[in-house]
Symmetry: C2
Subunit: 745 residues, 2 copies
């Protein structure tokens, strides 16, 4: 890997020689030169060996919430920041965190089988034998339960899977379901099972998804072996994340708490994750219809759905303890605008050793913070305050970040310029999502970081990956080749940005590298240092690349004279979403009409193999024409407002104090996209544009109020949400006009 | 299944009550009434129990080419026709037919393994234990060979698979390849392996394709168990079928024969089919790169490509004997036009017991012939001669039909009105391919046959199956719902129609039922009566439906006053093909341009995981603009000619003798679509519109000269073929104009 490091250094030198000619949004020519020089120094302080050492040190023991290992990692991080000269605090919260007491899964019929529920230690993996420190394999937030019932295989356990079961005449009421991991956030599976009356839920990792079907298994290769189990949360986080007993406010020592059975985001049915070694006998014994093609995995037998003679018994008990979260918050005060915060975060808690998730990201953030402190020693100062946050309790439910954000909500909405998140990181390509008004800014950052494997910019590599992927699927159009920028993704959930973006309206990024680091270690004991150094980022150079990228983002946002928000970019993206939801309604109308015609004329009865006993789908209500005019008119207004503001920002040079007033209005603009009431039935999520899907969990739904109402065929609510969002967008335009007017004065 | 029979009878009664009002192309009102009445009687003679008995009798023993069982089946068929009053002849030919003498497959490294190469008998399958009469598992036309080499997994063994191997730097020269069955006719796999320098080829049945991945395995279910092997021919039939030693002429006793090593359609490398039980140790031992997603099957390990330490030894020896083919040819002379032949055919030889392939089709043809003979006893006569052909030697290389057609080429081109082929048959939906001038005729036939499972017509059921399939893949357009007809497929190869259609230009159909009869018995010992009655067509009613359908086709073609050719329909279909090949060239031009841009700019180097060691694809030559104008002009002419002829045919009523001259010209028209030289490098195939693909085997290539030249990037030949086909189409138009002029006189 030495070759790459040499290439990278050479290229950053080349870049610098052209620095004066290169545009840097938010900076004038003079300050841009200074900024580039600072970034060059910053890059020079970043060492892959540090990243390696941080990951190795922090992953030496399991360090989940409330564990001795967790406290040790928090202390380690605290000490680092302290040593580097930061103003460090431990922000503690006191949260519910269940851990397993009893775990029993057995099949009593047609053959007897008791699941092992244990991951095996291997000599090739030095920490895999720390059994006494490891959390057993479990899904956090499963209730206690002792259930016995017939077993039914439900594919990924999503709503459309139950529609298919209905066509087969199979009802899961009173039964235990077994679902595959994948295709949704895991918490959706037991939630949908519960909605359909199941009394228990087993989730297993099929070897097709991240086991031998994908590649050689650990420790020979990176993929999941027969023992590997994915732990993880099954809280209904699409309702709200954080401590389930303190919705919307901080779980301080004295906070009022809900009773556990009052928490609307906690499941009522027991759920347990298992390995494919444990799943195989259960699935093999199933009778009933053969599973359709898209349901089948890579185990060597015919997948049947059940039910039949298969009876399973699932018994789970947990310790429902309150644990202390230790968020480490480290500040470097801004020299000019100390009350404007550029916040950078990554969690430190893991399910077990967590070398990849989260330590690879945490180590990169620490290395970034170290380099910033070195830079500061040379006399350089951030103009805005830098806030580094190492979160605790992310794995159970984004608890550390959520409780802190709820605790400091008002202050954050005043001070937070941007929140930049990372999490697990690996070898490969830039992945970045966030607030679309910062898409051009992100492109500029990515332009200036060199990929160590190829010597081209991480921007160009990401762009080429998109193009090659499109070429493979033959979706490539020539205009894709002509576009030299990349889009950033909309954010759903799955890491610590949720409270900042979706609850508080803080401009947000989430970023990381990957795509050349596949494997099956996720949330298992095999997410270890030994695994990471062999399969994820052997030279640890992508930890440095992440530090360079997130560091540039932080340093530029900290020191830009004009904050580089570009609301034209937001308009363009949002307009795409508006067109999508309109097309979605049209497409559903056409599909529904055709499908109902087929059903009415018995096409399904006529064409389904009589031996299959598959009922026709149910007729669906027709899709009315929704009135999108208010939304369309709001978008017309927004287009004008964003163009006027851009022009005004481009043309005007203000005196410093006035510019800072404008900056404050710019970074607070995203808050105008929040609605007071939040989304229907989940008011914690207030952002009108971005939310995790109610039935996807991690996956984003853009314009979620409108989109999900259409998807759920709730036409009345869809129309209401159109009006709500139109009003929000209109007000947002008015707010932007206000800034433009101020500039015009 | 009784319910279905009742429904069917009821409906055919309903249909008849409206018979007079119903159009029947080629018949006037009066003769249509007679025809419908005859068809009603005909239907009445058809019995599912006969079909059952025929299948059971003929599948009682293995009956491959040259076997005692084969002779017995030929005699059985001969006797039936004789008893039913047909004029029966045995048309014998003397052909090469290799059978195995030595079969050895072993792995010598990294672990020792010797393949079992045997299918297991099961008590549930009464004929599966007839080991001494069964042909062992082998690929017919493999040469003798004794080779040892490294093993390489080549996916389906198609040209694009070798392109991928080249990107991995893997060359199969001097190595033995192992390929999966599927995605092409089996003979393509060793042919392409040989082209790439391999010294041997193993073909195995992956459980993903027709084994446990698809459903429960035999004898519990219908799918391939671990012992099942697909026998079959690997002659290079896309060059020519039939006896390889007598290309283009009949293999009579005294015919001059090529030496075996002169036959251009015989392989040079040994090839052997194996079960997944035998393939598993070979594949499991492979090293080298992990196979890409689309290459992986359902065996429970990571698929690697090799090569590595895996060494295999393959030794094969065959008896290269000459065997006698017994084609049974049964005629019922026409009362008005005895020199016009309506030919109906289905083979009788099998690889083993062949209950499904070919006896389910053979039994339906026999039942049809029986009913026709019953009808004849009532005084009804066919106006044209009916010729029933039970072919021998189809499995090795369509030998019986090919040698007979070559033997009677001139006579057939004078007399053959149509050739109607069938082969294996099962429960489900109509599948039909053939000459597109008869597409409207086919729709009328399908309109008048009732599906026994649903009570709707087989036309409507096929149409609805197409629509529901399109709805599943979201390709459905409303106009598909508005179209009340079905298209017939273009024919490639794989059954006995090839010589008639593609060598002689006889109007042709191939039809059968299926889609509700999946399984893995194809060409194995498990294609037995016990299998068929459990999984394929338990009530044998689809044998009756095939007899009703093919019977109607034969009876209507035999008795129509005006032969129901509709060249407007051919024009419409052909015009679609012309647009396809033009679009193909355009699409390849665009794809090549983009792909070359990606390659030139190193997008592949930049985006491919460096750990994968995958080279970029090779640059391809640019696609020139071809001159399609002659073809387009020929199509304009054809459109006019076909419309004029249709008008003239519709308006004119001729005296009988003159009408018959026109009829002769109509059924001989398809011969005008032949080229003298035939296709480049395979002149046996003379049809300008339909041919089996050189690299697909069974799969059709329409406008094959042009399409394959473009696909193979042979631009000079593509242009030549455009001119050739334009000339053919122009001449064809002139020929049709000649008929129209005659009508106008």
């Amino acid at each position: 890997m030495r070759r790459f490091i040499i290439t990278a250094s050479f290229l950053s030198f080349t870049v610098l020689s052209n620095a004066q000619a290169k545009k840097l949004s938010g900076f004038n020519d003079n300050s841009a030169t200074q900024q580039f020089a600072a970034e060059e120094k910053f890059d020079g302080y970043l060492k892959a060996d540090d990243v390696r050492e941080f990951i190795k040190d922090m992953s030496a023991h399991p360090h989940h919430v409330g564990s001795p290992g967790g406290k040790a990692v928090a202390d380690y991080i605290y000490d680092k920041f302290k040593n580097w000269g930061y103003d460090v605090q431990v922000a503690q919260y006191f949260v519910l965190f269940p851990t397993p007491k009893t775990r029993l899964l057995e099949m009593t019929s047609p053959v007897k089988f008791k699941a092992g529920l244990a991951e095996k230690a291997f000599p090739e993996d030095a920490t895999s034998n720390q059994t006494s420190e490891q959390l057993p394999t479990y899904n956090c937030w499963s209730p206690d339960g002792d259930v016995t019932g017939e077993l039914v295989f439900v594919n990924y356990g999503l709503p459309q899977d139950y529609e298919y079961l209905e066509r087969l005449g199979i009802n899961v009421k009173g039964k235990i379901v077994i679902a595959k991991y994948g295709h949704s956030w895991r918490g959706i599976k037991p939630k949908v099972a519960q909605e359909h009356g199941a009394i228990g839920c087993i989730i297993y990792s099929d070897p097709k998804n991240d086991g031998y079907y994908e590649g050689d298994v650990y420790p020979k290769g990176a993929f999941k072996n027969e023992y590997g189990v994915q732990r993880g949360s099954v809280m209904d986080m699409p309702i709200y994340p954080g401590d389930p007993l303190t919705p919307g406010y901080a779980s301080t020592k004295e906070a009022k708490r809900l009773a556990r059975n009052e928490a609307p985001n906690l499941l009522k049915i027991p759920v347990l994750p298992i390995s494919y070694r444990d799943a195989e006998p259960l699935l093999r014994a199933l009778q009933g219809p053969v599973a359709p093609e898209s349901w089948r995995g890579a185990l060597p037998f015919t997948y049947h759905i059940g039910p039949g003679k298969s009876i399973v018994h699932l018994k789970l008990e947990f310790n429902w303890d309150t644990k202390t979260l230790n968020n480490i918050i480290a500040k470097m005060p801004g020299s000019e605008w100390p009350d404007e915060w550029v916040i950078r975060g990554n969690h430190h808690d893991a399910w077990v050793n967590g070398a990849g998730d989260p330590l690879s990201g945490q180590a990169a953030m620490l290395e970034e913070a170290k380099a910033v402190s070195e830079l500061a020693k040379t006399g350089w100062k951030p103009k805005r305050t830098l806030v580094y946050c190492a979160w605790d309790g992310e794995e159970p439910s984004l608890m550390g970040s959520t409780e802190w954000a709820e605790d400091h909500a008002a202050e954050l909405q005043q001070k937070a310029v941007v929140y930049i998140n990372s999490d697990g990181n690996g070898r490969g390509f830039l992945g970045v999502g966030g607030s679309h008004a910062l898409e051009p800014f992100m492109n500029e950052v990515a332009r200036d970081v060199t990929d160590p494997e190829t010597g081209i910019s991480i921007l160009e590599r990401r762009r080429e990956v998109n193009i090659v992927a499109a070429a493979k699927s033959e979706r490539l159009k020539k205009d894709m080749l002509e576009n030299k920028t990349i889009s950033i993704e909309a954010l759903g959930s799955g890491s610590d940005y949720s409270a900042f973006l979706q609850h508080l309206g803080i401009p947000t990024f989430d970023l990381g590298f990957g795509g050349e680091d596949p494997g099956g270690e996720y949330h298992s004991i095999y997410d270890s240092y030994d695994n990471y150094r062999r399969f994820k980022d052997p030279s640890f150079i992508y930890g440095v690349v992440l530090a360079k990228t997130a560091g540039r983002m932080a340093l530029r946002m900290a020191n830009a004279e004009k904050l580089p928000f570009d609301f034209k970019s937001l308009y363009k993206t949002l307009n795409g979403y508006v067109k999508e939801v309109m097309a979605l309604a049209d497409q559903m109308r056409e599909t529904t009409e055709i499908e109902n015609t087929l059903i009415k004329n018995k096409y399904y009865e006529h064409t389904t193999d009589t031996a299959e006993k598959l009922l026709p789908p149910s007729r669906k209500d027709e899709v009315p024409y929704l009135n999108f005019s208010s939304l369309q008119n709001a978008m017309t207004t927004l287009e004008k407002s964003t163009h006027s503001l851009s022009d005004a920002l481009y043309k005007t040079t203000l005196e410093e104090a006035k510019q800072d007033d404008v900056n404050k209005e710019l970074y607070r603009a995203e808050q105008k996209l929040l609605s007071d009431k939040g989304l229907p039935r989940r008011g914690w999520y207030k952002h009108a544009i971005y939310a995790p899907g109610f039935y996807t969990g991690y996956g984003v739904k853009t314009l979620p109020g409108i989109r999900e109402a259409i998807e759920q065929r709730n036409w009345k609510e869809a129309q209401e949400q159109i009006e709500t969002d139109a009003e929000i967008i209109k007000n947002f335009s008015g707010y932007l006009d206000g800034i433009a007017n101020q500039l015009g004065k």
